[in-house]
Symmetry: D3
Subunit: 287 residues, 6 copies
């Protein structure tokens, strides 16, 4: 299961996106008097993939016409085959034509992300390590794209700059060392938040451990060093969470997972995913 | 040259995207007192590609700190090499760390689009046909992604449902034929707008011509039929603009261009592009 | 038929206008406990004119009370007589009193525009030339006022700076001539947009023709020169659309139309129209 | 002197109005590279009238370009002659062309209102009665149009439903009489607010006096009855303010003023005013 | 009775406050699948006090779930006992848990204000003087906190800087005297607004009377001086409203009221009130 | 040090609060022509307390007048004495009078919270336990009120429903036990977030420990039971953070702290704090 925020949080975005496309109005559809003509449309997959975003897809039509009806043949997280019907929408032809582009753009983008995430996640599915995403998300779509990675099998990393602390080398340098950085930060953040520290060397790993980091991110470490780092951490403070990051590809991910880290983060599932091709077939009017 | 709208139009979006990432505040950076520490950062390309979005990248930092300074070593539309420095930013460390993620997410996304667009455009650069985009854009980024395709060498198709008329088969069916559809629509739209009609068969091409379409889109036509369509149109109404659409790939685009159409549209440059990988290297403090 | 954008586009404006009038609340009505008292009101015309804005008038009450009921005795575009009942509203007395002022202000303003537009349009109704509006509209009411001119019998000119190109003398001067201006602009705009060029002299008409303008606006030309211009254009490029503009009055419009231009634009139907006087008669409570 | 609210209150509106016109961007101007070309424009009156709205006119350009400079040759409230230069703007050509339409639309609308208000106000300038406006204002422009009536010589009536109480016949009927209505309302409103009661008959005037109204509006009374009403009020409660309303025209206003009322309200200065025609002449570049 | 503005005015605020608490989503509740589980909650008072804000409390849940049902056992203005059930809410468990904090924060804050206001108001309940509030309200809650003082038995003072005029010593000093200040201001404000003048000395009282103030505020006057001031005003202009202000406590308020002033203003009911403690008991699922 | 979010996050709120007070404009100040008159004001404390909110106080004036100057004599967190000058503002008289009320309302509210927080914090200042706040904050002021508790010496608890997980009895009941609840939730939240579990009995403490809670909140436990709970947790999983909650008063807080818990949470510092009384003395014009 993956979790979308309440519509109270999302609706403003969905409406803004509809307005972006509609602009000053869709006179083509309106001139033909299609607001009174009932229609039906099928959402069809053109590719193998993992579907993500159906509730958002449906919401677009309901924002235009509260009584629009959506029938789901698949649900988020399901695998779709080329040619498979994913959902059906019954609404006025005007609603179908007004909402089509935005609804599909969202669904295809999110399904593309879920599909690529799934590919990565499957490669380590039998291992304890879990795939996580990053903050490399399309501006404005943070919550939806992070939802899509969840659908694809990943766990979310922090959602913004404010819901967990990530201390990078620049912070460490500015503070004069890991211990100094953690001390300054810990008293200023909600005590309910975890602190993650980035480490590229074993020395930094030791410093992070000593300073009491909750999570240590092993950044761009070669496999051997990563093995050592995991061993050190597990030995000294087994409760610390270990994340591996940097140059994670479909070729390398399993090797990394085998080091015993808890989480493996990659932006690739978002930044390198293509949209999942779907079509929206408007059928004869509903009689 | 490609054209971004006035900041009056874009700033609301940029600010919303910063807030999406910042949430309730970046206490990590603030706790270290970095608002008074001046820093410098280099934007470095990690891949070969075409840069797009530098003015937006810079604006992000200026919204956070009006006196932040950006030095451009490349400009939008330039080709970048792996390892090449694209720009330098001088601002407070706090500004650099607060704006980094959003600025890079935008620049990498837009440059990825420009780069793939360029690849397509180059394939037909010696022919009169021009590449155009579609309305398959990431919700919320319509104007920026259409800017990126311009940077990459494409011409924009319509920007929304409202700035030109596109009559598709559903419209035609609902209106009872192309002629009927055009007649109903023409009197309702600004007379300054063009009407485009989608045609899959030669019969539809003839009907579109007869009904006075300004642009005819040859949709998913096999090359031979497309050749015939172009010939018919050029013969009967040479002022009509011809657009080819459907299954445009790097393999097929040149064949299509050779039919003599004016424009070739594809969503691939946006929906299939990966982000152009860049890094943002924070350097030692400016003294 | 004239076309209003989807409520998704208009509702934000309507709500803002209600809030402008309501401010911190209408305690007069509320103190009397009128939210539970059902009432009925008649919208009555006090003048001869053309009604425009009834859907917006009704929407105001529905935004305040979703179950408010509006019965239409006339529809937009109909001619109303003094004393004629246009519509009836059944809602709580609170809703009627809260919405009255904004609903009437809109309806009277729009009907005034439609009425004056109708007067102009009738003068050339038997000729091919059509009346068009301009961008001289009340800030914030662009879409509604352009709707009203449609209701009155005009065709819309462009809706904003972005949905068609209008090249004026300042642009031409800045670019170094019409041809140079068109060349620079054509590659930067969506290929789906038309380019209109303003011409005051026959030389400018020739230059606009040569440069490939889609529409030529004959600006402030005396009738004889306008006749010549139309002749030149029709002879050289019959597909070009011709617009006449400048000093269009009820006295001159027919002469201009007889020159054979396609469109005649005037801001007078908006800038010189008075509101159509209407009253809103609250009747005894509905039992 | 007339008073505009702080820009903090107005700027959101001005920006929204600019965006209404700019839409997705003014590519015509931008394609010609006019952001770097400095220009100058003259605001010229084409008619005799009273100028209103110059600070708003100027603000439009400053929102687009903070360093745009406006030189005023006249100020709000001044009488302008046909052909007279009102102000000069120095800014980039892009700013001048982007802001021109919205700035002029506002200035011409507001000056039209001020001019007609002035005509009415002059007719009673030697008498104690003062002209006041109503809530019949263009939705969204309440504050600006009420500013324009002030510029023209009127005093403002209440600004919305919330800053004073106006008890009309419907309220009275619903409450079961004037006394009952005032009693219910008085305890619910801020004690700093005045209560105005509408009266059409002398009986209603007496009831309003007895109930303690602060202001009595004599609505649609024939002159003789109005004389009697004024006499009754002045005799019984001289501190009560008297407003006359209904069918106020340039022909009747002086007669009404001679009855001795304090204020005469009419919506005509707003609902029947035409825009004051002005032109915006772009001059050669500033060297 | 106290009056809340129409939901059209309040809903934006309520939604913003829900979003403030929900942020990027309440995954705790959502992960447990509680959107489909119906629940019931009791709002229970833990203290003696006066309830205020029940309609707002209920609206919070209805914004999250339009069909949420609220049963009122008490209504605003009622006195509640410790342990008394005030209302019951039936909705999905998700809605109850999402809305709980915001709904309670509002109700407890407003009830705290109403309770303290009631305490003050009761001390002078048998005297003609009435308690009024001030503009010392929590930013963003002006309308709701002023509603709460009404519920507690106070009358509202002006709602903002714009719905009545308050002339303080700084204004008087800047204008060069009370008379000069009133003259300048009176012509610039809506004639429907009252003017209040602050006076600390009997000389200022005399000047305010002479200048025609509608309301005179006796600011920080010792009782004897206040008695004299009241006598002077009542004698010279009995229609003038008198407000006493400054150092109003539960100990002093009755003495002040006995001077015969009309209104006594204090910010204490808002600035010194503690929240009324309530609990929100979620009960077993509704079967 | 306490941390305010970037102005990019706060400015929208500050502007909305100014507009709440200004409404349709402050004509009193404007009529006197005070925008050109420079003034100076002193912010003076009338009570002993801890100052909080000075940057926000200053920002209010700078939003009205960017060049307004604020001189700080104290800074946030400093103790102020009655009669002590805290800061001076130099700006136009109009700015001072427009911003005064909102600036003071914020400063007095936040300083009241900081002062009461300080009182609580001092009682346990020599012990390791730290004071924390809750989500009982005034709607709209969450970030500022949590800032004020920081200034007063507290550490923040979670900032909203989304930046940490708090599992309460309702969640546990709905999920069928603590272990089941944690298992369902853990896979759905960002792995960077901590999970806190509420426990009222020692059995619940054991269950929370077994299920792997990061933080255990001992809710409403009598001291003896709390001692046992602390002992159990420290013995079994020393890395677990312990929070005590429920009925924390100035009388009980030290006893609770002595049990050895890490954090003690109370809403009292916000819900029971009175505003710190301050005055804003406008001085003679700056020459």
């Amino acid at each position: 299961m993956a979790i979308l925020p309440h519509w109270l949080v999302l609706d403003d975005h969905l409406q803004a996106w509809l307005k972006e496309d509609i602009g000053r109005g869709d006179r083509t559809t309106q001139a033909l008097g299609l607001s009174q003509v009932k229609g039906q449309a099928e959402l069809e997959s053109k590719q193998l993939g993992i579907i993500a975003g159906l509730p958002v897809f449906a919401r677009i039509f309901n924002l235009l016409e509260p009584t629009a009806q959506i029938e789901y043949l698949l649900k988020d997280g399901d695998r779709c085959q080329p040619g498979e019907i994913i959902a059906r929408v019954v609404a006025s032809m005007e609603t179908l034509l007004l909402g089509e582009r935005v609804a599909l753009n969202l669904l295809m983008r999110l399904s593309g992300i879920a599909s690529l995430t799934y590919t990565y996640a499957e490669l380590i599915a039998d291992l304890p390590a879990q795939l996580v995403d990053t903050r490399k998300t399309t501006p404005g779509l943070r919550l939806l794209e992070k939802y899509a990675t969840q659908v694809g099998g990943a766990v979310n990393h922090r959602l913004g700059l404010d819901d967990a602390v990530m201390i990078k080398d620049n912070h460490i340098q500015a503070a004069g060392g890991i211990a100094a950085a953690l001390e300054k930060i810990r008293s200023e953040i909600p005590f309910t938040q975890k602190i993650e520290v980035e480490a590229e060397t074993l020395g930094q790993v030791q410093a992070a451990l000593a300073a009491g980091a909750d999570i240590i991110m092993l950044d761009n470490m070669p496999p051997e060093r990563m093995n050592q780092a995991v061993e050190i951490i597990r030995h000294q403070r087994p409760a610390v969470t270990i994340e591996a990051s940097g140059n994670i590809t479909q070729e390398t991910i399993r090797t990394v997972a085998l080091t015993g880290v808890d989480y493996i983060s990659t932006s690739a599932t978002i930044t390198r995913s293509a949209w999942l091709d779907c079509s929206f077939n408007l059928l004869a009017e509903v009689s």
